[in-house]
């Protein structure tokens, strides 16, 4: 079997990299989360102690951790449905037979997805400016008083959600568009012959045919939105009043600002379990509905 030996030459480099720089660290993350790894252990491993689930128990008593969890759930809970609705709406418009200049619109709506997150976050920080921001200027035209978008603890997270939807909706739009294109025309024709209105066609043909795609997009988007980090880092630094500290932002500060690496690993694991649980729940829900 000459082929067998050559095959290993092809896969070994990639597998080695993934094993050493991904699988090993993931396993190590769990072990480190059971220790009090901190700046002293960083200097000398002799200072390392095993603390069992101590880091996890301590997290449960840390108000900022709970707040970060709450903020992240807020971001996911409001951001994902908004984002998916925007994606679906844009995809339906792009798919319409009446649309002109399709390639232009597709590219224009997709453009924010490929931009550099940090760069566009900087732009939006200025758009959100209370005094000179164009957003407040536009709202002023509608007779709405200026909002302190990034300085008011009630508005900072909505502002970040707005920004995230703008940045991300194009991605799922493309996936929905492909899904719409794969629905056979005959189904719509049959519905039209039966006298179904546009809304009726949407509810009884488009949505059911698209539901596997919506499911997939939902799972991927939720997992992605749980990983909120750069937006608050650039736009609010977690503030005001820690209203935009996300779980990852908390992990970053805990690990790489305060060098509590044991505790940071525990945070990372909690995030992983959370994403895993939500994904599993969705898959189970899908089976239950009969997908």
């Amino acid at each position: 079997m000459r082929v067998d030996r050559a095959a290993w030459w092809f896969v070994a480099p990639a597998l080695l990299v993934i094993a050493v720089f991904f699988f090993l660290p993931v396993v190590a993350a769990f072990l480190i989360s059971l220790t009090d790894f901190d700046i002293y252990a960083l200097a000398d491993l002799a200072n390392l102690r095993f603390v069992g689930l101590g880091n996890y128990l301590k997290l449960l008593q840390t108000p900022l951790f709970w707040q970060a969890l709450g903020n992240t759930l807020y971001f996911v809970g409001a951001g994902v449905p908004l984002s998916i609705a925007a994606s679906l709406g844009a995809a339906l418009l792009l798919h319409s037979r009446l649309t002109r200049f399709k390639p232009f619109f597709r590219t224009a709506l997709f453009a924010p997805v490929v931009t550099t997150l940090v760069a566009v976050a900087v732009i939006w920080r200025y758009l959100f400016n209370t005094r000179y921001g164009l957003l407040n200027y536009a709202l002023g035209g509608l007779g709405i008083d200026p909002i302190d978008w990034l300085g008011d603890p009630h508005w900072a997270m909505p502002a970040i959600i707005l920004f995230a939807v703008w940045k991300n909706f194009g991605y799922n739009m493309i996936i929905f568009l492909a899904g719409l294109q794969s629905i056979p025309d005959e189904l719509y024709e049959a519905a039209r012959i039966d006298g179904a209105s546009i809304w009726r066609q949407f509810a009884s043909v488009t949505l059911p045919m698209l539901s596997p795609v919506v499911m997939l997009v939902g799972i991927l988007t939720i997992a992605g939105y749980f990983q909120l980090f750069a937006e608050p880092y650039v736009m609010t630094q977690g503030g005001p009043l820690q209203s935009t500290v996300s779980v990852l932002y908390f992990m970053y500060e805990e690990g790489f600002k305060w060098w509590n690496l044991g505790s940071a690993s525990a945070v990372a694991f909690v995030l992983f379990l959370l994403i895993f649980a939500v994904t599993a729940l969705q898959l189970r829900g899908k089976r239950w509905i009969g997908g």
Binding site: P13, I18, I32, T116, W124
Partner: protein, 273 residues
Amino acid sequence: MRRRVQAPLVNGLLLAAAALTLFPLLWMVSVSLMSPGEASSYPPPLVPERATLGNYRELFGRAGVGRYLVNSVFLAAAVTAVSLVFNVAAGYAFAKLRFAGRDRIFKLLLGALVIPGQVAMVPLFLLLKEMGLVNSYGGVIVPAMAGIFGIFLVRQYALSIPDELLEAARIDGASEFRIFGAIVVPALKPIIVTLAVFTLLGTWNDFMWPLIVLTDKDLYTLPVALASLSREHVQDNELMMAGSVLTTLPVLLVFLALQRYYMQGLLAGSVKG
């Protein structure tokens, strides 16, 4: 009759949506050409009174952005080049070559896609520190030399290479490496371009890991440098916009040039489930 109402409505809505997505980007370019302080007035000006490249001069002069640009270009190119070789070779082998445990290993890799990369960050940092790679280009390049997503993308595409083609070459006495170079790589060209664009943009735009592993200012990539500059220069609207243009324009141009390949990769990648 109804068509006459609907067509303007559909196109009008799309036009409004496109205005919303493009406006911040166009505004960024416009403000980057304004003189210092000009954008901080009310009502906010849309176009510069007198367009100037002063902000860009300041960026390259005093802020030393040229250095970050070089870092970003080098890292994106290096990661793309190395990871392409590793991922394409592995993706092809998973699709077309037989070896013990192939399917089991592939399943394991697919399963691992649900693990967010951030879980590995703390131990990865410690590992790279042991290897002396923290605060060096290597800290960004080495962990990115291969990726599950890239292997998966290549494998799906490579499945369509006809086995007869490879068998014929083997009967002719070609070595596996020769077959890879002469038959497989040309056949995989479209997916190689797709993966290259994905990796290039992904590495360029990456923020959290370079922020962690590159602590020396001289090694910063553009996004990391921009984030740090924007914390210092909160009031310097125009300068920051020039920095944003410099950071995001290169990737936008690459995307526009290779859009077809990018969209293909996006759709192929989303089927992973």
